[in-house]
């Protein structure tokens, strides 16, 4: 690497992609800086993955206390101190973002505070200083997409960041515009905390990208828990009045319009890549019309010393994809033979039960020309699920017919995200359904449902009849 440069690598953005890249590059002996204009940990730690999971846990504990009556445990009146709830969540965020700062220090990553803007392909400006580097990693992430007619004020009309602050009192009526992962996580939180929640989705199905059977099961369970779901529905406009926000909803098939009143409206209609202020043109790196900065499997843009990772590099916009890409970029820069060669990137909706999947859906597998067989095992037949009072859902396995090769695993179950570990490793190791079926799974565990789904592929599940 060129001697005169200030850094071997300068990472722009300290989200999960950026901080993984910076730390790994430092571990590999490179001189590293990471510029961040807002907060260490990016969207994920500050206003994404982590605070939502804290809120989800709190909501689930409220539900759990209610269900405890089933086994004879009851409580006098319940009180939720909302200031304390928000503070607890903020405390977790602070601990984790502080942790990133400490890791930067310990790994000798220079933390540059401020917005980075390219001056030329080897120079950025951060605040009023300029820095040169042999390599740059663009990790500037994404931001919520906007919806015309529903202007976010972060009080009554909120995006995911505003929704993270629970108002006091909890809103009685809540509309979630967008039936994707983020929309459902918030809907689940607000529903458990006492809001009457309605989710609307423009497309015919919620949770786009997930397996159709899994989505059907998931939707059924969310409805059973009290969430109203309207697909093929859009929100045209919202008007704030004294009795609440009046939202005009339209059935996109019939064109029928109705107006409903809510106390809080969440706009969760997707995210878009963020490169504003970056002056990326100064580098010559390509930006697509949708604003992404695409990269090859070594995370290089068309300008080889400029790397792009995470949400800004492309879909799926998920933290663990950003992390993987961050590690790959750092290792490639350090001369290691790294590549983003993942067979599959898992997805999770952290509701209760969770919806989690990795690999191909049944429909995707068929589209790709695979002849498939499937195996399904219902959680209602799991002893462990019964003892956890959580028997909704199933494990579905999609397998290539001739070779028995695992193609995808789709789980609606308590702790589904924990069960993904096995499924993900199985896919990466090119495992077959037999490999899973022949592996002893501890009893009684939720993982036995994964085993039984693999057995069901061969029509040899034990705890259900195989058809």
């Amino acid at each position: 690497m060129t001697k005169q440069m200030d850094f071997d690598v300068l990472v722009i953005g300290a989200g999960p992609g950026g901080y993984h890249a910076a730390i790994r590059a430092a571990q590999l002996g490179l001189k590293v800086a990471c510029a961040e204009r807002e907060y260490l940990g990016g969207v994920c730690l500050n206003v994404g993955c982590i605070p939502t999971k804290a809120m989800l846990h709190a909501g689930e504990q409220i539900a759990a206390a209610r269900h405890a009556a089933d086994f004879g445990l009851t409580f006098g009146e319940q009180n939720l101190n909302i200031a304390k709830l928000n503070g607890w969540k903020d405390g977790i965020v602070k601990k984790l973002t502080g942790g990133v700062g400490a890791l930067f220090k310990a790994n000798k990553v220079t933390h540059l505070i401020g917005e980075a803007s390219f001056v030329d392909p080897h120079t950025v400006k951060v605040g009023d200083k300029t820095y040169t580097a042999s390599n740059f990693i663009i990790a500037t992430g994404s931001e919520p997409a906007k919806l015309p007619g529903l202007e976010v004020d972060q009080q009554v009309i909120v995006d995911s960041t505003g929704a993270l602050v629970m108002p006091d009192p909890v809103p009685a009526r809540m509309l979630c515009v967008g039936g994707g992962v983020i929309g459902f996580e918030f809907s689940h939180v607000y529903n458990n905390m006492g809001s009457k929640v309605k989710v609307i989705e423009f497309l015919p199905n919620i949770i786009p990208g997930a397996d159709a059977d899994a989505v059907r099961e998931f939707g059924k369970i969310m409805k059973k828990q009290g969430i109203e779901i309207a697909t093929e529905t859009k929100a045209n406009r919202a008007e704030k009045k004294s009795d609440g926000v009046h939202v005009e909803l339209e059935n996109v098939k019939t064109g029928e319009k109705t107006t409903e009143v809510f106390d809080r409206v969440l706009v969760a209609v997707g995210r878009r890549p963020r490169t504003d202020g970056l002056n990326i043109q100064a580098t010559g790196a390509t930006v697509t019309d949708r604003g992404f900065v695409p990269a090859n499997t070594r995370q290089q843009t068309n300008v080889p010393h400029i790397y792009s990772i995470g949400d800004v590099a492309g879909n799926p916009m998920l933290a663990h994809k950003a992390m993987k890409e961050g590690l790959v970029a750092a290792e490639v820069i350090a001369g290691k033979p790294a590549e983003q060669d993942a067979v599959a990137i898992p997805g999770v909706v952290y509701t209760s039960p969770e919806l989690a999947w990795v690999g191909l859906t049944e429909a995707e597998a068929k589209e790709k020309g695979y002849e498939v067989k499937t195996g399904v095992f219902p959680m209602s037949a799991s002893g462990r699920a019964m003892t956890l009072q959580a028997t909704d859902g199933f494990v579905k396995m999609v397998v290539e017919k001739d070779t028995d090769l695992l193609l995808g695993v789709h789980i609606v179950a308590p702790h589904a995200s924990d069960l993904l570990g096995e499924a993900g490793l199985a896919l990466e190791m090119a495992a077959t359904a037999s490999d899973i079926a022949l592996t002893i799974h501890a009893h009684p565990t939720l993982g036995e449902a994964v085993l039984e789904a693999a057995e069901a592929v061969h029509k040899q599940a034990i705890h259900i009849m195989n058809r």
Binding site: V343, D402, T403, L405, A430, A431, T432, D435
Partner: protein, 69 residues
């Protein structure tokens, strides 16, 4: 040489490969594994069976068409 066999006697083979070897009457210790550490995969057992190293005693399974990614 059979590098998949460990000092403690364990043969490094995935469960489905072990099953297939039993089905075909093949001694895993004679199979050359193609994975890391000589790990034996299903296709290694199939290839060994077809290579005539051991007489297959049962109908052979279809070899996986897709190799490890």
């Amino acid at each position: 040489p059979a590098p998949a066999t460990r000092a403690d006697g364990r043969v490094l083979a995935v469960p489905a490969a072990r099953q297939l070897a039993r089905e075909l009457g093949i001694d895993l210790a004679q199979v050359q594994g193609s994975g890391p550490n000589g790990r034996i995969r299903v296709q290694d057992v199939t290839a060994h069976g077809q290579g005539g190293g051991e007489q297959a005693s049962a109908p052979q399974q279809q070899a996986p068409t897709q190799t490890q990614a």
